[in-house]
Symmetry: C2
Subunit: 105 residues, 2 copies
């Protein structure tokens, strides 16, 4: 995953309401829009938009069941984000180690 791909993913995670929705999905399991809107201080429409942002980032998935639209977690992309952070973290460690060596010499 390049940095161009990673930016939208982190941007999707960069909102408190969306993180709250992810947390609720994690603790309470899959839920409809109305149900998810109960746990967050915004309107149902706002929740819909946030869920679609998360869906576009690949972090959640929706399934229609009758008149409901049930949203659930999609763990693949979160693993991508973790791997990306691991990679740049390792790069940072290398960079800092090189600097430390330069300072010592």
């Amino acid at each position: 995953m390049s940095s161009a791909d990673a930016a939208p993913l982190f941007a999707a995670l960069g909102d408190a309401t969306r993180l709250a929705l992810l947390a609720r999905l994690s603790t309470h399991g899959p839920g409809s829009i109305a149900r998810l809107a109960e746990g967050v201080p915004v309107s149902r429409q706002a929740v819909t938009k946030h869920l679609e942002v998360l869906s576009h980032a690949g972090l959640v998935r929706d399934r229609r069941r009758g008149r409901e639209r049930v949203w659930a977690l999609e763990p693949h992309r979160l693993t991508d984000a973790k791997r990306y952070l691991d990679r740049i973290s390792a790069q940072w460690d290398d960079a800092l180690a090189r600097l430390a060596r330069l300072v010592e010499e």
Copy 2:
């Protein structure tokens, strides 16, 4: 780190230009604003703003040296972000495991 604290951190990572600046700092080491602006297709002022966003998120640190302002990586907060992702990732795994168990029974 709560989700309210994590959101601004991920938001800081959620921009391709900022990720490019972090990558350049990682590979080329610390650098001045003008130097960093060379590697990215925006103006020097835009780079300054991006660096201040990263600084406010705790991801970089600046040091003045004469007429230059040298920016360097600050690895602590990135570790925070990794830990946060690890935590919610574990929560997701738990949630999905519980669901799988429910489906089996």
